[in-house]
């Protein structure tokens, strides 16, 4: 069993709902974001990129890529970062020494360090929320708790709290459920009949920074937006218009 996520960039509207629901559901303190969405190529979110009348807006949501060959897992000196039997990269908060080597090793910048005691930070900010129960993988490894300790590293867990003891999910991850554009898909990559396997097989998908050999399990369905929106629309009728995939 290897859980993976597929994100359809054509359907992503850059609304940040996935980022916000993740932050709320996992009780992330201020300044910490397990999931984030930005407009590719733009200094400011939701602003178009281009020149001479050829502009486009394309969003890119990025959270932990759950790499098969995860650099964070390999460098962790205590084994606090590990791969669960479902293939998810998790952090055992009781073992993390806060050396931050995993953060230096991760090419995706998704690992978040608790620079301040999260419980205090949230109390000072005047809010307290999030899934309230501790989750222990295999009955011993603390992989989710509402108030993580200060001085440890945390990140996306593919919503490990939504998982049953047998490794199946009773509820889909929060970002998948919350996405208003239904751009996110979640499932077992090893199951050839799963929807995610079908998408990975049949769609034009890419993964981030594959050249690092990390073998991520987050796939992106390439946006079919034409590179030059105005030119495409002027030159082609709707009937003849073919998608222009960005490699």
């Amino acid at each position: 069993m290897r859980y993976c996520m597929v994100i359809d960039l054509d359907k992503c509207i850059g609304c940040q709902t996935c980022a916000v629901i993740c932050k709320m559901h996992h009780a992330q303190p201020e300044g910490t974001w397990w999931n984030r969405v930005f407009t590719q190529g733009s200094e400011y979110h939701q602003s178009a990129v281009g020149s001479n009348g050829t502009f486009k807006i394309e969003y890119l949501p990025v959270s932990c890529q759950m790499c098969e060959n995860a650099p964070c897992e390999r460098v962790c000196p205590t084994g606090a970062t590990y791969r669960s039997k479902e293939g998810t990269i998790l952090v055992d908060y009781n073992r993390c020494i806060g050396c931050r080597t995993c953060m230096a090793a991760c090419p995706y910048g998704v690992r978040q360090f608790n620079w301040k005691d999260p419980k205090k930070a949230k109390a000072e900010a005047g809010y307290a929320y999030g899934y309230p129960f501790d989750v222990k993988d295999e009955g011993k490894r603390l992989v989710y708790t509402q108030d993580r300790p200060a001085g440890v590293v945390e990140k996306c867990t593919f919503c490990v709290e939504c998982m049953n003891e047998d490794g199946t999910y009773h509820t889909l991850p929060a970002c998948v459920r919350a996405c208003p554009g239904k751009a996110r898909f979640f499932g077992d990559l090893d199951d050839p009949n799963s929807h995610v396997s079908h998408l990975v097989r049949t769609k034009q998908v890419f993964r981030l920074k594959e050249e690092y050999g990390t073998d991520p399990k987050v796939y992106y369905i390439s946006s079919s937006k034409p590179k030059n929106v105005e030119a495409e629309w002027a030159d082609q009728s709707w009937e003849n218009k073919t998608p222009n995939y960005i490699p």
């Binding site: 930005f38 190529g41 281009g50 205590t78 084994g79 993390c96 953060m103 230096a104 978040q112 608790n114």
Partner: protein
């Protein structure tokens, strides 16, 4: 104003070292209570002064053991007067490096898990192992060099000769250990293929050259500070030899530093160009300081071996500053060259990283973090320095570190 006597200076140094340790410990305790938000490190820039100091003190710890080992392995008589001071300097430095890395841990109370549940594939795990072994190597070297002094009554029975043979045999362990501790430590960086600035097989080799340069310079500086003028002149052959070895190491370091940059420049990718911009523009002043300071020291070491205490001391200080800057430069361009980049409309676009804290009016997501150590970091960072001062001053009070030392 009345000048201090030699013993008065030693006591003053001891008190100064102790004061630095107390200040550092107090700041560290504050950091543990308030969290690492008191540092100027953030998610996009995770290692700074503490990690740089760790790397630096490890380099400094190697030189002394190298001096100890070559003196006995090749029976270099000019160097033998310095083996005691070199061994103690190495021990103090390696303990300082251990303290520096602990200062960097967010949750140091979990450190035992490195033994209970180690990940043997992690370079950091092996670094801890080699560092621990190196502490033992330094302790043994210190004991071997100090033993004849503590049991003077045995001198008549040839105790010193026996001890010299033990030192020679032990040098077979000390010599490779001095290099190995640098190689393993630098592998923590060299193995990370997602950071272009670190991912180089030359880094461990260059680390050895840097370690020799700074470690020997540190030993020379200790000799200059602790030796009487007459003793210094008497043993100037040994100092001159050390200065020449340090000069050769500096030359190798400078050459390798530029060789490391050539493949980056050659690749011509947008990421490489951005990295070069960081090295030569954003941190250009620091880059040239890390090269020019040791270069000037190298010239002084070559031509000025007999120029006297002051010049040799000045050259040693230049190397120490230069290599400390080099250790910081290992971090500065690396962290500000964020690996998640995408080419958009022909330009390199970097995906911003959440900093991990919130300050009103400041960005939560950044592509560049202008790191400079915070006041708390500087005070915490004084602890390992204070430890070295304390250990060296204490040793000078307790033992006769150099011939004719008062």
């Amino acid at each position: 104003m009345k000048s201090l006597s030699v013993s008065g200076k030693k006591t003053a140094a001891l008190i100064a070292g102790a004061a630095m340790c107390v200040a550092g410990l107090a700041a560290w305790a504050y950091q543990l209570i308030a969290g690492m938000q008191v540092t100027n490190l953030r998610n996009s820039f995770t290692w700074g002064l503490y990690m740089g100091s760790f790397e630096f003190f490890i380099a400094m710890a190697s030189g002394g053991m190298f001096v100890f080992a070559i003196a006995y392995l090749w029976d270099i008589k000019q160097l033998k007067p310095f083996t005691k001071i070199a061994a103690i300097g190495s021990l103090a430095s390696v303990v300082a490096s251990g303290v520096a890395i602990f200062e960097d841990l967010g949750e140091p109370f979990h450190a035992l898990y490195m033994i209970i549940t180690p990940n043997v594939g992690s370079p950091l795990f092996w670094d801890v192992i080699i560092l621990t072994l190196y502490v033992i190597v330094c302790v043994v070297a210190v004991v071997l060099t100090i033993l004849p002094d503590t049991k003077k009554h045995m001198d008549d029975r040839g105790y010193r000769m026996d001890n010299e043979e033990k030192c020679r045999k032990f040098s077979y362990i000390a010599f490779p250990a001095a290099f190995l501790v640098n190689i393993v430590t630098s592998l923590m960086f060299a193995t990370q293929n997602t950071r272009e600035w670190w991912h180089s097989a030359l880094i461990p080799v260059n680390a050895c050259a840097e370690a020799l340069a700074v470690g020997i310079s540190f030993t020379i500086l200790l000799c200059v500070i602790m030796a009487k003028h007459e003793t210094f002149v008497e043993n100037s052959d040994g100092i001159r030899l050390l200065a020449r070895i340090a000069a050769a190491a500096i030359a190798a370091y400078i050459v390798m530093s530029f060789i490391e940059i050539i493949p980056i420049a050659w690749s011509g990718t947008q990421e490489s160009r951005h990295l070069l911009h960081l090295i030569f523009h954003t941190y250009g002043a620091l880059f040239w300081l890390e090269i020019l300071l040791p270069l000037v020291a190298m010239i002084l070491f070559i031509v000025g071996g007999g120029l006297g205490k002051e010049l040799v001391a000045a050259a040693s200080v230049l190397v120490i500053i230069g290599i400390f800057i080099q250790r910081m430069m290992l971090l500065l361009p690396a962290f500000n060259s964020i690996p998640l980049t995408l080419p958009v409309a022909g330009k390199l676009w970097t995906f911003p990283i959440a900093v991990g804290t919130f300050t009103e009016g400041e960005d939560v997501f950044v592509r560049f973090w202008n790191y400079a150590p915070s006041a708390v970091e500087w005070i915490v960072g004084i602890l390992p320095v204070g430890l070295i001062v304390f250990v060296m001053a204490g040793s000078a009070i307790l033992f006769r570190l150099l011939p004719d030392q008062e």
